[in-house]
Subunit: 376 residues, 4 copies
């Protein structure tokens, strides 16, 4: 091996730079291998935009959020959006990517990304590109690994926000609703809700019953606690209802639905309890900032191990944490799947033991609540 | 003097507890005077809800956000909202407040609050209540004092958010819009915009020209900077347009206008530049959290001085900072006024020297831009 | 079960209050059991100082460092230090502890603490006290569990300090030495050293070779990096040398040895490289502050599970994390042992791949270096 | 004007990069003037080490601590230390500096630094170099300006440390001693002591009476507060005693006196009160990290104004804050002087009103205590 490529794809998250630093340092230090970084994920591979990454380039980036390579949502070489006139058409640019890869004389590619990047990479593997994956998502909903870097940082940012909201909630005797990311999985809402001492936690996996939510608020009031904190994952939705989330700002103002669910919940609580509600939507804050120590270490381990895997020829695999050991999972097994919160997960059980309302009637087992809803 | 009362009114802000601690400690330490704290601002005085505050009660609260006394938006004893059936009627409860004050045998009242609390206190003074005011607002828009506690904390929270947003903006080559509080005054947007290195700062005082905003974005792009940070005060509005802000969540979903201006700006930028925008609305985050060292010291000085003023009999006055000296201003001069950002303010000039766009055409003096708009 | 006791022993660490909150809330919510909290660890049980802990008592403590119960280094009822005249004598007060426990009609005790508390609790079990343990240490050196709460918080504080030190090191072209806790185990130095991008990491497990350390500094200088960051665990010591750590301030000034190792290392580097060194000793900072989100969640899970274990009658066990699952380990197996860093630990390997110096000659396998020293 | 130089001298502090950014952006944006940055303060001017600073070079540095130009304690061109054999000799290199300045065709120099840099710059002015000064020091002890950037950041770091120490002090019932920088002036100890709720604050200006200190500790204990926080400026010393501070690590271990005063105080308190003490020395932590919002804004204003002053030809002046206005002071008036804490300063008075012990007998006016000592 002489030269390997690296790219960062999908939504950015804290720790990407730490992976890049570890990849470059390990390649240089252990194997004397050069590293080429592609700009903006697969976009850079397709459009042949890249630069060499030396030790100097990655010096000082460990602590910085984001990615020095840039990233892009145009993550799929097989369905690459290209503007034609006023509209996007989707073209297969995978052969172009392979061609550029070969022209650069690369021996392997380290692809850092989430679900979409792993899917694209599994596809590129079939075209002959030797790829090792590194999992990343602030949502922590990737299968095949116990934990992804970026998640701890996002939980910390969300928890810090909930801490701040707490003092104003108490002073004003209000119901404060904090919306965090998590369209399909509630890990972020559940973890930050537990860490921030949220009273009610609503996640996509458990369609909520607004009356159960309001009862929880009222019970707190009856017990002399004149405020409540509701932590909502953006994909949460009422039993029988639809998800209202959409972070994309459309050009038509009517289409703007930022903070859809949390404002719906707020309006309903105000209507049913006569208490004042306020909404805070953390949105892209959760992607930003310096990675936590935990994420820096995890990202560093991933980056180091990815290079070792490349050198051992373990192509098609994604680095993964399993318990406290580092291992790997085939990228093809990761693509298109989602790790979601189950009713019997320890964090859910802990929440229930503390008396936290997860949006379902208290006392009834969650599985039963969910089953009942499903039949309705 | 034997006993003095204290209350915290209006929107909460970091540092209220630091004032309470300083009031209680100074009263005890320097004068051996007892302190009675009313719950929820003037509401507590009207409804006779209070408790004695000892040294022990204020131990450990210096670092905590919010107010241990609680606060309320029902700040005006002369126009006190009372629910009758389904509707609020506004009653004059000022005599009840005076009666309770006298029944408790209090010698003076320290009223901590913003514009509304100062106005109410000036009114209560006329009914014979001996009051000293302590200014508070995260917006820093109170006249009669150079600075209010809570503002530095809010600027820090906003700046920290902008720092976080920066990394994700850069990685994704997006225009990120961060909305901060400030309905009538742009101090918070201007200060955090400068501290966070915002590229465009929109404040209520300078109605913005969306084309000037888009030009600034495009110029950055042309110079190879593929992202921009726009910091928006919630009361910002287009030249000739109206303010769209309303934090209150109405029970009808149509009425929800949270983040009105920032989403409008986002939609317009997307339309005019074809760049992706994302919106983050900090809202009540800015009221929360532990006060900064600056605010703790300022609040402590205010609390200490307020007691000295009470003991010197300087009733009707509000504690104030003038330069680096502590002084005072009659509460009656504060009520109903607003300190806003002027075109020739040093912070505005500094922003312009850095090349920051404040929403007006570059090159044209701000006064001229504003005059032109006024005539249109 | 009707009433259970709880105590916090040994050095304090972030997350103790989160455990207490979870214990009280779970006992109340799931089992309607009352909780009695003893003051200052086993001291309170021996001296019969306690109070009932209600839901209200634990409200708002999740985010606070330290322990509302207080703690004490007088952790061992079998060897309890009592002042007689000018000197301490060590008495067996275990029977008194049992007597008090029985007089209070308690059904079980939850003992939160480290190595010492687990050892004492294992002893008290033999006297018939039904005890469940909860592991705690910022050093993370307890056997029987993968991770203890408090550790992540300490790593974050240390990493934040190293980040701060970085900027001043760079500006002044200095060698900065940061000393963290860790008398017998290097987990904290190793983790914060990795997270903070330390160039040299010295831990108690690998007696350091000062020439190897200086060579690493010189090599960086030769490569144009005119500063180095050295992270030192307080128990680190030169090959063949002794530990010089002692945090206790003795009344004789000569006996003060605070920051012993780091100042020794600094003096040696200055002597051998002619570069300016500066020392920062984090000491008790690492025990303080609000627990991180990670520690709050871990502590909450531990507290919740401890109550479940009590109710299931699993006495003599300590709650433990094993991978991402919660389990348990007999307290007797934990006492008197230490989990230390091994040469083949993944974190050590990652550090080496990045080119970090761990105080041993580069190129030579660590096991070999250590073996060589042992024979010298 | 076509080209101006800039340098950063003396101990680094948060905000230096913010000044550099403002200087470069303002020079470019308002005047189309080029900026040359010298490396390592006057060292770079003397040794002709420099680089051009473009807008791109200062992009992203606003938030970073330290200085991208580097700094040096070799700040005085008139007494420039040069290694000859084993020893340093001091040479006058001022003519070399002037020669390099002229060879580069510079029209003016912006010198950012503290007392030493202002003194050197005043001297260089006399040799004909046109210089504008920008004040900087984390100690805030410069005359001629109300406030220097870096100070607020240092106060925040110290306050955060005291907050952390608080929780462990309370849990362990200990006396915790926190030492901050400040060899000749107590601003940092006084401000962070007030902001952190310190019980005892010792500063260089008020030589302390150890019995008064111990009495304060004992009184707290008697009142049931079983812990105390002592904040010590490094230059504090007992009445009649000498300063023991020396941050420099000498090559002889005996010479190491890091944390001299705080360890002396600790030993004395342990001896006189029989309470456990612990020492934390913040040292260089206080120079590090991202500047606070306050310091970023102040540094930005200074940088912007320095360029305006250069263009207006106001050479020999130092930018200064006076109240909330920006102004200037002749550099020659700043050199060799020190702004120290006076007994009647508002912060001292506020501390006394709260019952804080400043190391002198309570009840006796400070001026009297000091006078008495002086005569002893």
């Amino acid at each position: 091996m002489k030269r390997i490529g690296v790219l960062t794809g999908g939504g950015d998250c804290p720790g990407l730079n730490a992976v890049l630093r570890a990849v470059v340092k390990t390649a240089d230090n252990d194997y004397d291998v050069k590293v080429i970084g592609f700009n903006d994920g697969y976009e850079g591979l397709i459009e042949n935009r890249y630069r060499e990454l030396s030790n100097r380039d990655v010096s000082g980036i460990l602590t910085r959020g984001g990615t020095i390579l840039g990233t892009s949502n145009r993550a799929d070489p097989f369905r690459y959006p290209v503007l034609q006139g006023e509209e996007y058409v989707y073209l297969d640019r995978s052969t172009q990517a392979v061609r550029n890869f070969e022209a650069l004389g690369l021996d392997a590619l380290v692809a850092i990304g989430g679900d979409g990047t792993m899917a694209a990479s599994a596809g590129m593997m079939e075209l002959g590109l030797p790829i090792v994956g590194v999992p990343k998502t602030i949502d922590n909903d990737l299968v095949g690994t116990d934990v992804t870097f970026g998640f701890d940082s996002a939980v910390v940012t969300a928890t810090d926000a909930i801490d701040k909201i707490h003092t104003t909630a108490q002073s004003h005797h209000r119901v404060m609703i904090v919306e965090v990311m998590g369209r399909y999985a509630g890990w972020l809402a559940l973890s930050s809700g537990l860490a921030g001492g949220g009273d009610i936690i609503l996640i996509p996996e458990f369609p909520y019953d607004i009356e159960a939510v309001c009862n929880a608020v009222k019970e707190r009031n009856a017990a002399g606690k004149r405020f409540s904190i509701v932590v909502v994952g953006e994909g949460a939705h009422p039993a029988g209802g639809e998800m209202v989330v959409d972070r994309r700002i459309e050009t038509s103002p009517d289409a703007i639905r930022l903070g859809g669910v949390s404002r719906q919940v707020a309006a309903q609580i105000e209507g049913l309890t006569n208490l004042e509600c306020r909404v805070t939507i953390l949105g892209h804050l959760l992607r930003g900032g310096s990675p936590t120590a935990f994420d820096r270490i995890l990202a560093t381990r991933y980056g180091t191990e990815a290079v070792h895997m490349v050198m051992r020829g373990e192509m098609g695999q994604m680095v993964a944490m399993k318990g406290s050991n580092i291992g790997s999972t085939p990228m093809s097994e990761v693509a298109g799947k989602l790790r979601t919160v189950t009713p019997d997960h320890p964090l859910v059980k802990a929440a229930l033991s503390l008396g936290v309302c997860v949006g379902l009637p208290m006392g009834v087992p969650i599985e039963e609540s969910l089953a009942e809803e499903a039949t309705t």
